[in-house]
Symmetry: C2
Subunit: 230 residues, 2 copies
């Protein structure tokens, strides 16, 4: 029987590549996304297209009230930084960090995996380019994995040994783009910008746009997304 995997799919290029990797490893993939009050909800439209294009068997979109918790430029009225240099982006934890967000996402993924009878979770965490997010580090993921196997019926009864795969964790953005490209990911379906323009183009200036543009440049590939003129 084909092994099932739950794959966190945000609509960005990292998670699209992660889904393509899980599929290339032979998993039957169940895509999971969240409408969590993020200002860039445009990415959910991309998540749907990515999940469909890469053959996810199901795509579950859960709604969360993270704006009621706030504390981030993505979920509260805190400005998204614009025009920062690569050095600035790499230093410290950015205001786009959402408190406990990845823990909340992985917790739901764990619950769904248990119900599906899946042991494998795929999470497109990556530390190199945007070094600051605590919940994108492998030691955090390892701690989550340990907790997950104590938290669940499947783990305790020894039916499952949950494993959280982070295939991108040590890759640069350029390496991720090259890998996704090789696996046939259509990056025109993905979305990265935190604050799109009113006419639906990427701003080109937020950290996420800047990392994406730098990654495509270094990979020697053309980004198919439309950007607002500088």
């Amino acid at each position: 029987m084909t092994k099932k995997a739950v794959v966190l799919v945000s609509g960005g290029l990292d998670s699209a590549t992660t889904l393509a990797i899980a599929k290339s490893e032979g998993y039957a993939c169940y895509a999971l996304s969240f409408a969590y009050g993020q200002r860039h909800s445009r990415e959910l439209e991309s998540a749907k297209k990515v999940a469909a294009a890469l053959g996810a068997l199901e795509h579950l979109i859960l709604t969360l009230d993270l704006r009621l918790i706030g504390g981030s430029a993505l979920t509260a009225d805190i400005p998204v930084p614009k025009g920062r240099s690569a050095d600035e982006i790499g230093q410290g934890i950015p205001v786009t960090y959402v408190p406990a967000r990845n823990t909340i996402f992985l917790a739901h993924a764990l619950g769904w995996a248990e119900v599906l009878g899946a042991q494998d979770l795929f999470f497109g965490a990556n530390v190199l380019d945007a070094g600051g997010y605590p919940d994108c580090r492998r030691k955090y993921v390892d701690a989550f994995e340990t907790m997950a196997n104590l938290a669940t019926k499947a783990g305790v009864e020894g039916k499952s040994r949950f494993k959280i795969h982070t295939p991108l964790i040590r890759m640069t953005k350029a390496e991720i783009i090259k890998r996704g490209h090789a696996l046939g990911v259509d990056f025109g379906l993905t979305w990265s910008c935190y604050e799109p323009t009113a006419d639906g183009r990427a701003c080109g200036l937020c950290d996420s746009c800047l990392l994406r543009k730098k990654g495509f440049a270094e990979a020697g590939l053309t980004d198919p997304l439309p950007y607002a003129p500088p």
Copy 2:
């Protein structure tokens, strides 16, 4: 400055007693509840009354789509067991176990704690009477705590050392009731039944009712809740 604590409040008597304990220890308490699709949503009305009666500074009720994940008698069309003996209730993991539910709850509590600047979380987990829930054991809570301090900006920057308090973990239901009673908890505000009758009385037969009734009997106190006639 008074220390803040986030307290998970379900509306049941365990979490009401936990909130009373947190308050008695001098914490400024922030109550957190979830409308997660549970069949006994009556408990949320109790959560509101409990939070108000015990002086929570805020009471946040978050909505989750756990019925979309399912896998439990509380969130899917699986019958709630009735009339089981204490021995039966204590054995194995019951069908009222909700996959990853407490991990999802604690993850949100962690996010809110980080935003509030709180280091302390209170969780009314208890292992003795209902021995089967994997995510009510202290070793699970310890693993969550380790993960939490790696997951968060506050943890990584050393501003907070998150601690998850489980004051009830080794108490019997009778001991919890006596402790709550001594702290002035009005158990008439709480709710335990998984499947109330149409006229709003507790069924008296689900595991949760049976444990509650046994606890009051052993504590030598009168349960103020109305029960359906046997």
